[in-house]
Symmetry: C2
Subunit: 465 residues, 2 copies
């Protein structure tokens, strides 16, 4: 109640999202600190500091055709056999082309697909191993396969028939859907959001090959300015002279427990001797399930959190991670971590049941809540990444704020799950004072208010966090 009573003071101005984050040098940004390494005083700000972790495979993949060649490539693309991309396919094109999946250079061929399913990793030609836990594949149906025939290249087109990319040196192989689902999710139960959206009705073939993307993927949703590529993020971290980058993956609103965790992580990194740890607050921007809070609302909420001073903009970079969400728990958390490593993060915060959800059929969580961090800490190819397990934060009734759970006085703590949080916001109730900054909470309430009740007069059911 008290929290909500403060809302009016925070709703008067919705600053443009751009004030939130540090953009590449060409854009005006407020909080940038242009300190360069003292040992290299003459370096221009666009040079990466050598202290950033190396991307997988040693070099960031960048598959966007260079400006002078774009027109000719586009003409080529228009003359090739056509493959229509779904919305999620397009998100993967974005992901691959910017190098999040480095050293992957396109949709997986069979050898990469099989290694991903069986080993969660790819062996490179030099014998080294990089993590790759989720299949990044392009399904096509029998008709498309027939249309491609013996061609070695195809053109990829978006849902509105705009040419997007050329796929070179292609390989078509069977799409073993059941096996893919079982090995990725550890279940084949009906109702897995990504499976229902992108696999169940997809084609019986997979099309692998090397991508050449005609121009950077844009979503034109007012949020493209937040979509920094791994290489732009690396430039930003270097520009800030970060000597440690810690990434926080999220697809939910930020509450003060998260914030406590992030500020505490920074404190711990400083204690470890790092001089300038920078937080990458990295909301997932691709496909999410129907009852998750949509990206645009989440970005508004995150913005409020920085505005309200819950996180320090000086040491925080907010950007959008373009990947779709698989809800594949321990398998997916590796992907979330690996992609951030490619963007320069050498610390990764992992929580309880990362990328998990309720079992779609049985009354239990799909994954054991501890498996995610355990699997992540043992994952091949991620040995270089420092895994920071979440401390459990809960609402401390004695302090009236979020605090790390103290097992010696459990009665003082209140656990507010994502489900509970969303249920409260939906019914316009207030969480306990100090659970979330008022501005952020108001965005949530506004979001649920905006939902048009469906058929039965109820908004969509809210399920696990």
């Amino acid at each position: 109640m008290a929290a909500l009573s403060r809302l009016p003071f925070h709703t008067s101005s919705h600053p443009k999202p751009s004030s939130l984050l540090r953009l590449p040098a060409s854009l005006p940004v407020r909080h940038l600190s242009f300190r360069c390494p003292t040992r290299l005083p003459s370096l221009s700000v666009s040079v990466s500091c050598s202290s950033l972790i190396e991307p997988d495979g040693g070099k960031l993949v960048d598959l966007v055709v260079e400006e002078p060649l774009r027109n000719s490539r586009k003409l080529e693309c228009l003359g090739l056999p056509r493959v229509k991309l779904s919305r999620i396919d397009l998100q993967w094109v974005d992901v691959i082309s910017e190098g999040w999946a480095s050293p992957l250079t396109g949709f997986m061929r069979q050898s990469e697909f099989l290694q991903t399913l069986h080993f969660g990793a790819l062996r490179l030609q030099d014998g080294s191993v990089v993590n790759m836990s989720v299949p990044i594949v392009l399904a096509i149906d029998d008709e498309a396969k027939g249309r491609i025939g013996d061609a070695t290249r195809v053109g990829l087109f978006d849902p509105d028939d705009n040419p997007i990319a050329i796929l070179n040196d292609i390989e078509i192989y069977k799409h073993p859907k059941e096996e893919r689902i079982a090995r990725t999710w550890g279940t084949t139960a009906p109702g897995l959001p990504y499976v229902e959206e992108a696999i169940r009705d997809s084609g019986n073939w997979l099309l692998g090959g090397d991508l050449e993307v005609l121009e950077p993927i844009k979503y034109n949703d007012g949020l493209d300015q937040y979509r920094l590529s791994p290489s732009s993020l690396r430039e930003e971290f270097s520009r800030r002279n970060a000597d440690a980058v810690f990434a926080f993956q999220l697809r939910n609103p930020v509450h003060n427990g998260h914030a406590l965790l992030m500020t505490d992580t920074r404190r711990r990194l400083l204690e470890m001797g790092y001089k300038n740890p920078v937080l990458l607050l990295h909301p997932l921007g691709g496909f999410t399930k129907a009852d998750d809070v949509p990206l645009s609302w989440r970005m508004r909420q995150h913005e409020k959190v920085l505005e309200d001073g819950v996180l320090d903009p000086e040491t925080t970079v907010v950007s959008i991670f373009p990947s779709p969400m698989l809800y594949a728990g321990p398998t997916e958390v590796q992907w979330h971590a690996k992609a951030r490593l490619n963007a320069g993060a050498n610390f990764y915060i992992v929580g309880r049941d990362p990328a998990g959800m309720s079992h779609p059929v049985e009354k239990r969580d799909l994954y054991d809540a501890d498996h995610g961090k355990k699997v992540l800490s043992m994952a091949p190819g991620l040995e270089r990444l420092n895994i920071l397990p979440f401390k459990v934060a809960a609402y401390d009734k004695t302090q009236g704020k979020m605090a790390f759970f103290d097992p010696s006085r459990p009665q003082d703590f209140l656990f507010i799950s994502g489900t509970k949080m969303r249920a409260l916001a939906k019914s316009k109730e207030s969480p306990p004072d100090g659970f979330m900054c008022p501005g952020g909470w108001e965005v949530l309430v506004e979001y649920y208010d905006s939902l048009t009740p469906v058929d039965n007069g109820k908004v969509p059911e809210v399920v696990g966090a």
Copy 2:
């Protein structure tokens, strides 16, 4: 017909199985060649030749308590909380204790279980990686968990309540059955033989720990003399002065196509410059599905094949691999190969659809026939093993014998699947002359003849090879 007409000449004597294979030095053996490496003329025969491939982890695990300590350990065991083993559990105790799964020293703890499910490999303390694709775990129910309480050691007892082993430094963790099945088999369809037999109704907990086995596991089925441990096999290969060991996993009768493949492999190894390649003909001895030919009959059949001179006893070691069969295709073939590496094999022959079967529900093979060899060739921890893909052998009607398939004249070849073979033997029909040595075929006919027709007057249905 012609093949069967020769049967009487080969049924008069059933030599004892022991004549088949090379046993440890204490037993009388006919075909042993005691050549020692010329550079080490003074070595005793029990010293391993350095040319054998190193076991995983550098050292073969041997978990059988040494003779002088057996009585005291047995007394200890009798005083510990008791866990009853199933027949399959006991096979795994055998497998682990002899070092087939080296460097595994007991039933998996959670960290090993998770690495197996997600990565098909275990990372050792020195950072090196060994292959481990199938979970080797011990399920217990709630009652057993309660009985164990806070104990750190338990006694393992066979189905007849005989003490078998002590499990030390135990760890109890949840048994995520659905996830285990999905990630191991790539399906959760009902009807997977191992799942139905050993997982579906098993306990909700897994019990990991380090094994101490009270004495070598014996089956007392007249075949124990064939059960050579990895270390005995290594001694045997060294004694024969093998400079290459190629393993052939099987759970079916040997026909002349297999034989052709094995003799051809030896020829190729000789061409590669090896002087003395030895074949490990290695029938699987643990759990198999109901319609597979039982081990005792298969051993009689293999015996005939050597007797009939189809394979050369001088360069062939026949032994039983004590593992249960999972029918887990590409996941399991890695286990089959890794275990043989531990037994000294540096070449592994892999066929079409290894460890595969029909989908238990859908009308198709469960696995793509090519995935097994592809996955095996990319498997972490098996880089040292040379993978030899099967050439396809079929019955060449123009030659009246099994030959490598010649794609330029497909009309001349007859493919006789395991299913077809078993159906013929069951109905006492003859395969084409030259398909299998007559003595071996007669054993098969005799086996199917021995089956008591069930309820409906039919013998059990024969399914995929």
